[in-house]
């Protein structure tokens, strides 16, 4: 099977044309300017990962109703809606500093959800 993949490792955003076999192993890949493109593609065809960004409600803040958050690393796409459900009911309290851990080891992924900004 043939696929077109966009490597998002760096701003070059190489577009790779890859061919995979029935075990999702890459037979051929073209279009990547560096080896990181191939590493990205190998993961992308088996279990794609993205950084998930969303918001949680914040109480006691001067100006803000919501705190923007994100996963500190790329999280498997299959877990995104799971994490969204957890975030939906959460409340956090101001003050908050950028980088504060909001959920530790979310969905047992080894990945944390962290605050994207300070809120006073």
């Amino acid at each position: 099977m043939k696929m077109r993949i966009c490597c998002t490792t760096c701003p070059n955003e190489c577009e790779l044309d890859v061919e995979i076999d029935e075990n999702k192993k890459i037979i051929q890949a073209t279009g990547n300017k560096c080896p990181r493109g191939l590493t990205f593609a190998e993961k992308e065809v088996v279990d794609p990962e993205r950084v998930l960004a969303s918001t949680v409600k914040v109480d006691g803040a001067k100006h803000n109703a919501l705190l923007p958050v994100r996963t500190n690393e790329a999280l498997p796409l299959r877990l995104h809606f799971n994490v969204m459900h957890q975030l939906e009911t959460m409340h956090v309290h101001a003050p908050i500093k950028m980088g504060d851990v909001i959920i530790h080891n979310v969905c047992d992924s080894g990945i944390d959800v962290i605050a994207s900004r300070n809120i006073d």
Partner: protein, 420 residues
């Protein structure tokens, strides 16, 4: 209160903050005026990642990118005025500028040697593309819906149609889907997508949202609230083709149809605007036609990456500071006018200094798979680049060494020679 500053920056987004930081590094007194109640500008509502890869060398969300600049700004002596709206800019014969703004305390006028315009841009609205049909609730610009969802905790609707495949539209398609709202499709007038390829993949394909090219919304249907939109295919002249109409039941229409630099204060102050960008004409130092008034970021021309805004603003901040300190004068001699030929839509700057290396930013108006940059001066070829692909969604930068420019007469023209 001090009412005189070396440099005054208007706007506290990624352009204004970066310009203020850099100006203050030159040991100038700097004031920054922001109309919102916090710094960061539109970055605060862009909660998605994809920022900072170039400038901070790591991937950040919009709020993180803003927070880093805010933290940096707090280390400086820049005086920040929040919730303050600039009303006008005036000048006197001594080349002193006056900036008048209004806030809860009333009107204030500050004087300065140099002004940096960094007000950003605003979204084009329904009126601008004249979509026929009923004037009902439920038609939003994509950025407004983004603010409602990401900052105000409001839900703008349930079933969405998005018009325009620019990055904001694509990002919103993902965001709405993640928050449990239904995106029925993204419709694009042009035969190609306008957003970055990564956003097509990560925002539409990941969520099985269809993208319909060469299709536009031709009617809004509903009584008090949007009940449906009519979409039609368009021909090569972008005109709707009769008989291709399709009615899509939905309750919300999001518009992601382009941005306009917000230059009302600039033009009232006498700053000349380029109709190709709706931003100021600037020279290589990002100085407008009025000595001491500079412009950078999305108020100058719409960028696709905040990183490029910050880089441009750093240069502008430094130039404005050097001007304010009297270390440089306005460039009016020994310059070359920069012209562009279709399909290049515009260039920034629009004039350059003859004996310095030049970085010229431009954007093409249509995708070209393979073209060579050719620079001529008064008809004579002085530069030829390598063949590459050009896309309207990507701002390009052509660097021309001073040695080549020394061969130019009084103008240079950038053109693209299309290959096979």
């Amino acid at each position: 209160m001090n009412t005189n500053y070396d440099v005054i920056v208007i706007g506290g987004g990624p352009a204004g903050m970066a310009a203020a930081i850099e100006a203050s590094k030159q040991n100038t007194s700097v004031a920054l005026i922001e109309r919102n109640d916090e710094l960061g500008g539109i970055l605060n509502q862009c909660i998605h990642p994809g920022f900072g890869l170039k400038y901070f060398k790591e991937e950040l969300t919009g709020p993180e990118y803003a927070q880093r600049l805010i933290n940096e700004l707090q280390e400086t002596t820049v005086k920040v005025f929040l919730s303050s709206m600039v009303l006008s800019i005036h000048h006197d014969d001594n080349q002193t500028h006056y900036v008048t703004f209004i806030n809860e305390e009333g009107n204030t006028t500050l004087s300065t040697k140099a002004i940096i315009l960094a007000m950003g841009c605003r979204e084009r609205t329904r009126g601008e593309i004249k979509i026929p049909g009923s004037r009902v609730a439920g038609v939003f610009t994509a950025g407004l819906a983004q603010r409602y969802i990401n900052m105000d905790n409001f839900k703008p609707g349930n079933r969405f149609v998005i018009l325009g495949s620019g990055d904001i539209g694509l990002i919103m398609a993902r965001r709405l889907s993640l928050e449990g709202m239904k995106v029925l499709g993204v419709y694009e007038l042009m035969p190609y997508a306008n957003g970055l390829f990564r956003n097509i993949k990560n925002c539409l394909d990941d969520f099985n949202i269809p993208l319909h090219l060469s299709t536009t919304v031709t009617k809004v249907i509903g009584k008090d609230r949007v009940e449906a939109v009519e979409v039609s295919k368009v021909d090569e002249n972008l005109q709707p083709i009769p008989g291709t109409e399709e009615v899509i039941p939905c309750d919300t229409l999001l518009l992601s149809i382009g941005l306009i630099p917000e230059n009302e204060i600039s033009s009232k102050a006498g700053v000349e605007l380029n109709p190709a960008t709706n931003g100021a004409y600037v020279n290589e130092r990002f100085e407008t036609n009025i000595p001491g008034i500079f412009s950078c970021g999305n108020v100058l021309h719409v960028h696709d990456l905040a990183d490029n805004v910050t880089a441009e603003a750093n240069i502008t901040g430094k130039n404005a500071a050097l001007y304010a300190l009297g270390l440089t004068s306005s460039i009016r001699d020994n310059t070359l006018v920069v012209h562009v030929k279709t399909p290049i839509g515009y260039s920034v700057p629009s004039s350059i200094i003859k004996n310095e290396n030049a970085s010229i930013f431009f954007r093409v108006r249509k995708p070209i798979s393979n073209a060579v940059m050719v620079v001529t001066s008064n008809g004579k070829e002085i530069f030829r680049g390598n063949a590459k692909e050009y896309k309207p969604s990507i701002m390009e930068c052509q660097i021309i060494p001073s040695k080549i420019l020394s061969e130019a007469n009084d103008e240079i023209t950038l053109s693209l020679e299309e290959g096979e």
